[in-house]
Amino acid sequence: MTMCVITPESRRRRGKGRWAKQRPVIQMFHVSKSFGNDPPTLVDINLDIAKGEFVFLTGPSGAGKTTLLKLIFLAERASKGQVLVAGRNVARLRDSGIPYLRRNIGVVFQDFKLLPRRSVLDNVGFALHVVGTPREVVREKSLRTLKLVGLANKAHLLPPKLSGGEQQRVVIARALVNDPAILLADEPTGNLDPALTVEIMDLLCDVNARGTTIVVATHDATLIQRYQKRTLRLEQGTLVAEEKGARAAQLMVQG
């Protein structure tokens, strides 16, 4: 079993570890978001995620999980309230500053967003090319990351030729390849079988152990049950409770 699954012993270690009470990297103060004239998608969200933390974000379909993640990497801007990432108020960030914010955030998109006409390897390497990494380094790092998600043999295919689960792993590899400070994973195991799900989650735990702050939006109750982490639960745009994973998962299974 990996270091991520909580045992009494690991919990004790963690309690006094260096990430225990760190300064926050993601903070939201009274954040609301509405699209046009529709009823607001997010209402008065307040949250605080510490550096090095691993947080689950759960809630029913349409609750606003994806929207909340989008506010963090500025795919959407909050209608009201303050969003702070690494202490900076991103609500005030100019458009030209967005790319530099995003380079520190790895994102696993729920709908993948792979470039359909570039090879898997190029898709993964893209985040490195953006910062001007030399070609050989890009190649080598991308291949290494693809190996981590078990796709080294598919590196030269185009994404539309991959199975759903394979595409999902490519997106995970892309999010991880440049060692981001923050990783936002939106339903990262929705297309993976249980065995792979465990593998990928363990991978995320390793990354987390190396200092990356991770937020995983998921419906999967078994995940939340297995990895006992702080779990934020959204319901109709409001954060309802901060229970420990087990209870949240139980809530979910019961519907």
């Binding site: 380079r103 792979l114 893209f126 953006v130 990494t133």
Partner: protein
């Protein structure tokens, strides 16, 4: 280091895109080629029209009738003066030559009288460059005031008409050229916009993964310039084909026009290439800008 890496990345990306999704690029290159062919053809046709006007007006001349008592010397001086002033070729026509010409036109004239009543005259063939009605009128007025000169005739009506023709042709050329250029711009802008529209999701994804606008734009610029150059190449090929193969055939077939063959000069080739590259480049910049805002 990072700059080198980026530049080589852009160049590779642009080239890859060119051969990976050839369809879009073929369309863009084709419309650029059509546009540039239009431009080149307009230029060639314009210079042909100028030549046509020149060749049509070969007969414009100034005739200076001299007084009966003019000496050989005066006449020679006048020839020099006229040639200097009009930059044309002046010829002295004796009364005998003039009568011979008249006889050719009106048979029996010579028989009417023993004396030759016709005066000495000088005919000046005016080169096309000096063939403005205004300038000729000026020269005529000045020459008329000279001691030895009786009268000056320079076919004012003909010069006027010719000037009108030349003007009309140039105007038509300008209109056609304007239309062609409008087409060039609209076609190229539309094609590049659409080509980039077809790839808008790619741009969106690149931005989501942390690419700056400049980073997204660069490969499109290189692509645009390359497409422009490729289009120019095709256009020049078509123009050369038209002037070197098409024109002689046409002339041979019809046996009517012995005009000078139109030519694609090096300068024109340079212009077409430069226009192509900048159209592709500017077109791409403008087209991609629209999708970078979001």
């Amino acid at each position: 280091m990072s700059l080198v890496a980026k530049t080589s990345y852009f160049a590779r990306t642009a080239l890859e895109s060119l051969w990976r999704s050839p369809f879009i690029h073929v369309v863009a290159v084709l419309s650029l080629a059509v546009a540039l062919t239009g431009f080149g053809a307009a230029r060639v046709v314009a210079s042909q029209l100028d030549r046509l006007v020149e060749s049509l007006s070969g007969e414009v001349e100034l005739t200076v009738y001299l007084k009966a008592d003019s000496s050989d010397e005066t006449r020679a001086q006048l020839v020099t003066a006229l040639e200097q002033r009009t930059h044309g070729k002046a010829t002295i026509v004796s009364p005998e030559q003039a009568l011979a010409r008249l006889e050719a036109q009106v048979p029996g004239v010579r028989a009417l009288s023993k004396d030759n009543p016709l005066p000495w005259s000088i005919e000046v063939a005016v080169p096309p460059s000096a063939r403005q009605a205004q300038a000729l009128r000026e020269v005529a007025r000045k020459v008329e005031q000279l001691e030895a000169v009786e009268a000056v005739d320079f076919g004012e009506a003909a010069v006027d008409r010719l000037e009108g023709l030349a003007f009309a042709l140039r105007l038509a050329g300008l209109v056609v050229f304007g239309l062609v250029f409008l087409t060039v711009v609209v076609v190229v802008a539309a094609t590049l916009q659409l080509a980039i529209y077809a790839r808008r999701e790619e741009i969106e994804i690149q931005k989501l993964v942390g690419a700056t606008n400049r980073f997204v734009r660069a490969p499109f610029l290189i692509e645009g310039a390359l497409q422009g150059l490729l289009g120019a190449l095709i256009a020049l090929g078509l123009l050369l084909l038209a002037t070197h193969v098409g024109w002689p055939r046409l002339v041979a077939l019809l046996g009517v026009l012995d005009a000078v063959a139109p030519a694609v000069t090096l300068r024109l080739a340079g212009e077409v290439a430069a226009l192509g590259a900048s159209l592709g480049l500017v077109g791409s910049v403008l087209a991609v800008r629209r999708f970078l805002r979001a």
